[in-house]
Each structure stands twice: as structure tokens, then as C-alpha cells.
């Protein structure tokens, strides 16, 4: 009894579902490797695509400045959303106070975006 119920619990758990999903991906990947055409690698084929121009393959540097302000806003609002969501069972003054603190933080950040 215990063992059978244990099997059912394992089957309906998140890690098991993830393993099954990854296995499906691996199967398709392996199948693709089996049936795909095998060509000879040539210089032009291995070059990274650049509309026919001669450009060496390299990691392109990302400019993080515009990213940063939005990332900070994102974190603030995301935390606010999750806080409101997890305060389902205890509505009242506390979530509102937290929300107010968040909005103050946003207001303080506004000069950052103008710069």
C-alpha cells in the first residue's frame, strides 16, 4: 500500500515531470542526430552569419546602462507583486504599508532615469 502510494506521489511531483520533459527533448535531439544529413564542414559554413560580410565571431559586449534602471524597477515591482500575493490570508494595514514603502522607493529612483 505504502509503496504504491509512494509511486503515485513521485509521478505527480515537479522533479519527475521535469525529468520526463527533459527526456523528451533529449529523445528528439538524439533522433535528429540519427536522421539528419551529415555534411562536410567548410570554412564558410562554420563562420558566424553576418550577411556575407567578413566579421570575426565574438561575444558582443552588452551595454548595461539602460538595462540597469529597468532591472531595478523590475525587482521592486516584482517583489511588490509577490508580497501582495502572499499576503492573501492577512489583509490589513501591513501590506498597504509595504506597498507605500515600495512606491517611495520608486519615487526616489525617478531622478535616476532622467539622467
Amino acid at each position: 500500500m505504502e509503496f504504491g502510494a509512494g509511486v503515485q506521489d513521485i509521478v505527480t511531483s515537479v522533479p519527475f515531470g521535469f525529468v520526463v520533459a527533459v527526456l523528451l527533448g533529449l529523445c528528439l535531439y538524439w533522433l535528429g542526430g540519427k536522421i539528419s544529413a551529415k555534411g562536410k564542414p567548410s570554412d564558410g559554413k562554420l563562420a558566424s552569419y553576418a550577411c556575407g560580410e567578413e566579421l570575426p565571431a565574438e561575444k558582443v559586449q552588452v551595454n548595461l546602462q539602460t538595462f540597469f534602471v529597468y532591472a531595478v524597477y523590475f525587482v521592486i515591482f516584482d517583489i511588490l507583486a509577490f508580497m501582495l500575493a502572499t499576503s492573501l490570508t492577512s489583509p490589513g494595514i501591513l501590506p498597504a504599508a509595504y506597498a507605500l514603502i515600495m512606491l517611495l522607493a520608486v519615487a526616489l529612483l525617478l531622478p535616476l532615469i532622467r539622467r
Binding site: V7, A21, G32, A37, L46, A71, Y73, P91
Partner: protein, 328 residues
């Protein structure tokens, strides 16, 4: 314990495994996602006065499957300068993550295959992971177009993620539970669909899912007229096949999640009708998404971000505050 009881327990375990792997589990979901791609393509084609898929199977219904098989059988080219480990892992992960999310959505019955308290938060987390892996996919391919596409995907994610999560949490506040299956149960119990109480939330989440799925008004990360194929530029063969399938699965995830949270989910008068209920509702959502795809042209990235923060975030917050007032 009697032998009969033991047999029953084993039958139940077997039943759980079959429902995870075949119906309504992985195999069914993959076929469903191919079918949804066909519906989407055919509908958009008809709206644009084209025929759409026509020759493969009746009315071209097998065309998405044929596309996947074709891509699987093509040569898989890995260009110089890429990060090989990540380059190979990301297509598999990008298929696995939406598929796992779909296992958490109730489809053939009122409870999902995998259900626990807080699975709504977990699905929101999975959607964020998908967007983050799009960024990684662009970055590891060491290609100018790929990097630009990846950065655009990350910027876009910062725009739509907040209104999306806030408007998905709205139904949870009304139902008083963070479990998708319990939200469906609440709607069946009261007979009220969430869309009646939060139409704004429904509209916002459809818009945000358009961005999440990179559909046409927000297909900025893979804009083919500007940056070739964006973050997918260097992917070919089986990797591209996995990415295509992943997009289809994500479409089903979006439609299924909206159906469960806002349209009452698969709650039917009789249990065996559930799947039909689910199909009708989620295809209705899919047709809304396809219609918007045929209606709009692409936005610029700055228009998309500022639009999200100027309109969608305040609107979704207002919606949530209104809901809190309604509750308390």
C-alpha cells in the same frame, strides 16, 4: 492487506504514469501544440486572404509535424566561437520548461496532473526562466544579430513581466488560493468566471503573453526584417526543430493558463466533457491571439517598454487594488 487492495494501488500508480506520459500528459500535449500551430497559421492565413497550409493531410493539418520532421533531418551546423555546452543545452531546456508548466495546468480534469499549493507562482517563475534562456541563447551564439535579439528579449521581459505576474495574481486574490486547480474549483463552485470580474486583467495578460510568445506586435527579439532571425540566427537543424516545438508548447501553455485562470478552466457539467470544454475555451483564446497577430505591425523596442510601464503596470496595479477593495 488483501491482494485485491494491493492490485488496486498498483493500478492507480500505473494510471498516474500513463496519464503523465500519454493522456493528458506529454504525448497528448505535444500533438495538441502542433494542432494549435496549425489553427493559428490557418486562421491568420484566411484573415490575410491566403490559403495557409493546404497539401499535407486534410487542409494541411499535418504541416507543423512535417516542418518539425524536416528540420530534424537537416544538417546541424555549429559555427565557430560559440559556447558549445550552453548552445546544445538551451534548445532542450526551452522545450522542457514550458512542457513542465503545461503539466501544472488543468486540461482534462479540474485538477492538473501536478498540483500543489503555490503552483501559480511556480508557473510565473517558469515563464521568467524561458525569457532568461532566450537571452542566453542569443548571447552564447556569438553573433551580432543573436546578441541584439537576446538583449531585446531581456529588455522586453523587464517590460511585460510585472504586469503579467500582477494580472495573473488577480484571480488568486479573489479565489483566496495560489493553486490553479483551486482557482478553477472556485469558479465552478460560484459559477462566475474571473473575466467578468477582471476584464482589464484578462486583456493585460493577453497583451503580455503576446510579448512572452514573441508574437507579431511584440516580435521584436526575432524581427526578421531588422535582425535576420534575432536570437535564433545561428540555430539550425534539430536545435531549430526543438525551438519551434518549444514555441508551440508555450502557446498552448499561454492559452491553457488564461483558460484556467479567467475562463473557468475545464470545469464541465460532466467529467468526460472537460477536455471538449478546455479545447473550445483555449482555442477561443488562441484565435484572439492570432487575430491580434494579423491586425498589428511590429512596435519598436522603446515603444514597447515605455508602453508597458506607462499603461500596463499602473492599470494592472489599479486592477489589483480594486480587487482587494472588492474582497475586503
Amino acid at each position: 492487506m488483501t491482494e485485491q487492495a494491493l492490485e488496486l494501488v498498483w493500478l492507480e500508480a500505473l494510471n498516474a504514469i500513463v496519464s503523465l506520459l500519454i493522456y493528458p500528459g506529454v504525448a497528448f500535449l505535444v500533438l495538441l501544440s502542433l494542432f494549435y500551430e496549425w489553427v493559428d497559421r490557418k486562421f491568420v492565413a484566411r484573415l490575410q486572404n491566403r490559403y495557409g497550409p493546404l497539401y499535407t493531410g486534410p487542409s494541411g493539418i499535418l504541416q507543423p509535424l512535417a516542418d518539425i520532421v524536416k528540420l530534424l533531418s537537416k544538417e546541424d551546423i555549429e559555427p565557430r566561437g560559440i559556447d558549445r555546452g550552453l548552445f546544445r543545452t538551451i534548445p532542450i531546456l526551452m522545450l522542457a520548461i514550458p512542457l513542465l508548466g503545461l503539466l501544472l495546468v488543468p486540461i482534462a480534469s479540474q485538477t492538473a496532473l501536478i498540483a500543489f499549493e503555490g503552483d501559480l507562482i511556480f508557473i510565473i517563475f517558469l515563464l521568467t526562466v524561458v525569457a532568461a534562456s532566450v537571452f542566453l541563447a542569443g548571447y552564447t551564439s556569438a553573433n551580432r544579430f543573436g546578441a541584439i535579439g537576446g538583449v531585446r528579449a531581456a529588455l522586453q521581459m523587464l517590460g511585460y513581466e510585472v504586469p503579467l505576474s500582477v494580472s495573473l495574481i488577480g484571480p488568486a486574490v479573489i479565489a483566496g488560493s495560489l493553486s490553479i486547480s483551486k482557482i478553477v474549483e472556485w469558479q465552478r463552485h460560484t459559477g462566475l468566471w474571473m473575466i467578468l470580474m477582471q476584464p482589464v486583467g484578462f486583456a493585460i495578460s493577453i497583451l503580455c503573453f503576446l510579448a512572452e510568445l514573441e508574437r507579431i506586435p511584440f516580435d521584436i527579439p526575432e524581427a526578421e526584417t531588422e535582425i535576420v532571425a534575432g536570437w535564433m540566427t545561428e540555430y539550425s537543424g534539430r536545435k531549430l526543430a526543438l525551438l519551434r516545438l518549444a514555441t508551440d508548447v508555450e502557446t498552448v501553455l499561454a492559452c491553457g493558463l488564461l483558460t484556467a485562470l479567467y475562463l473557468g478552466g475545464p470545469a464541465a457539467p460532466t467529467p468526460w466533457l472537460s477536455i471538449a470544454w478546455f479545447l473550445v475555451k483555449s482555442i477561443a483564446v488562441l484565435l484572439i491571439i492570432s487575430n491580434l497577430r494579423a491586425l498589428f505591425a511590429r512596435f519598436r523596442i522603446d515603444q514597447m517598454i515605455s508602453g508597458c510601464w506607462k499603461y500596463l503596470v499602473p492599470l494592472s496595479m489599479l486592477q489589483l487594488i480594486a480587487v482587494e477593495f472588492m474582497m475586503g
